[in-house]
């Protein structure tokens, strides 16, 4: 038996459409996960013990259960409580919420890394809570949270493959369907692996550039 990638690559437009859905869900999902994770970490840090406890529960549940189970519950279980989502919306929501739990932990560690004295100094010159977060805490933690954040973004990219199981027409679903139709199953898997890897390397490269830019701005 010999590999014949031509049968897969002949379906270029279909693959590109799957790739488009993957990239869209990944970028939008990661952006939402970062934003929601930051809000959760900030609320846990400044909202008092009760809010901290209330938010800790979902974070721990999301980190403690497999992503596959979460999206099954969301997509197949949702209708039981009146939550009917189309596959792409369910996938985007799933990635965002799951990612947010991890990003909230990254930002929690970021908050903890800033010496309390730096916050006290800001309070003493009259900074409001919001100003302290925006002008002191966020920039100071940026360099520290960037590598784990990039890492998480890469994990989220690869986890979008699982969305094929709730029929999101993303890259894994599209390419494996082509493979089945063309009796080229292994070829399709190899193509998938290569495309994901290329995306990850691209993300890594962008991450390193950003890191260097931030490092230049913040001499520590």
């Amino acid at each position: 038996m010999s590999f014949d990638f031509a049968v897969i690559l002949a379906k270029g437009p279909q693959i590109l459409s799957g790739l488009g859905v993957t990239v869209l869900i990944w970028l939008a999902g990661t952006a939402l996960a970062v934003a929601l994770g930051f809000v959760v970490a900030t609320a846990r840090r400044f909202g008092g013990p009760l809010i901290n406890l209330v938010l800790m529960v979902p974070v721990e549940v999301l980190r403690g259960t497999p992503f596959l189970i979460q999206i099954f519950l969301l997509y197949f279980g949702g209708p039981y409580i009146g939550l009917r989502l189309d596959p792409i919306t369910a996938g985007l929501l799933g990635i965002s919420v799951y990612g947010a739990a991890y990003y909230s932990e990254i930002f929690r560690a970021g908050y903890q890394s800033v010496p309390p004295g730096h916050v006290e100094a800001a309070e003493c010159v009259g900074f409001s809570r919001l100003q302290t977060i925006l002008f002191i805490l966020l920039p100071e933690m940026a360099l520290l949270v960037l590598p784990p954040s990039m890492n998480m973004a890469i994990i989220l990219l690869k986890d979008t493959a699982l969305l094929s199981l709730i029929t999101v027409p993303e890259m894994t679903m599209t390419v494996s369907a082509i493979g089945s139709q063309q009796y080229a199953f292994v070829e399709s898997i190899v193509v998938l692996a290569l495309v994901y890897w290329a995306l990850v390397e691209l993300a890594n490269w962008l991450g390193r550039i950003t890191e260097r830019k931030i490092a230049k701005l913040s001499v520590t």
Binding site: P115, G117, H118, E120, A121, A122, E123, C124, V125, G126, F127, S128, R129, Q131, F135, I136, P139, E140, L217, S218, V219, T220
Partner: protein, 262 residues
């Protein structure tokens, strides 16, 4: 209005079961330098931090120029000030920390001008012009564009003093400003503080620099185990015969300039 810059009345503070301040009463006179001395763990830093409401006293009141800081008395007992009330009360004080606490992602100029831009809402140019004057005052104009990591400890502390002065406070609080510095570098910081004292700034200084307390202080307060044992002019405090507890304390600091008052 009162003649005191800071009035401390019956202030007590405990961390868990550990009592760190016991019923402190102290008046900090305007335009004078009051030094808090005492052994480690005596509560002097905690008392200073209570004045800036960085620590919350469990009982008692602290008035800054007659206005309460941290807590206000209401119909249902004392309540915490709102964030805005607290900011207003704190606006009269400038705080200098042992560990400088400069923001590492901003230059010296950025550190000093930040409050002018963010709190006073000045334009960048206006804020930086004022910040530059403050840096000139602490002799660091030529280092304005350096980051804290590119400055020596003494320079960092002088930037921190300039930062605290930027908002024009009437009272400066110093929490062991030279304790994190090499002996060689303490001089430059103490000189800046001396200049401030000469200009009539009200200052409260927690220090182990007994020589500074004796030569610059108008009032020396000795704390031990959370109690304010006594406070008086340095001439009276350091004149023989001394309080036995102070004598014992000074013995341990002979090598740090206490010989000046022997």
């Amino acid at each position: 209005m009162t003649d005191s810059a800071i009035s401390i009345k019956n202030v007590s503070k405990q961390f868990g079961d550990t009592v760190v301040l016991r019923d402190i009463n102290l008046e900090v006179p305007k335009g004078q330098v009051s030094c808090l001395i005492g052994p480690s763990g005596s509560g002097k830093s905690t008392l200073l931090r209570c004045m800036a409401f960085l620590e919350q006293a469990n009982a008692g009141t602290i008035l800054i120029e007659g206005e309460p800081v941290g807590f206000v008395d209401g119909p249902n007992g004392r309540r915490r000030q709102t964030a805005a009330e607290l900011r207003r009360a704190r606006s009269k004080i400038g705080m200098v920390f042992q560990q400088f606490n400069l923001w590492p992602h901003m230059t010296a100029l950025g550190n000093v001008s930040a409050s002018l831009r963010r709190v006073r809402k000045m334009s960048k140019a206006e804020a930086e012009a004022i910040a530059m004057r403050q840096l000139e005052k602490v002799d660091l104009k030529e280092r304005a564009h350096h980051y804290p990591s590119q400055l020596s400890g003494g320079q960092q502390q002088r930037v921190a003093i300039a930062r605290a002065l930027a908002l024009d406070p009437t009272i400066m609080l110093f929490d062991e400003p030279t304790s994190a510095l090499d002996p060689e570098l303490t001089g430059e910081v103490l000189n800046v503080m001396r200049t401030l004292a000469d200009e009539g700034m009200t200052m409260v200084v927690v220090t182990h620099e007994i020589g500074f307390a004796a030569s610059v202080g108008n009032k020396v307060c000795f704390l031990d185990h959370g109690k304010l044992l006594f406070h008086d002019t340095p001439e009276k405090v350091f004149a023989a015969p001394r309080n036995p507890r102070l004598e014992q304390f000074l013995d341990t600091y002979l090598d740090r300039g206490a010989f000046l008052v022997q």
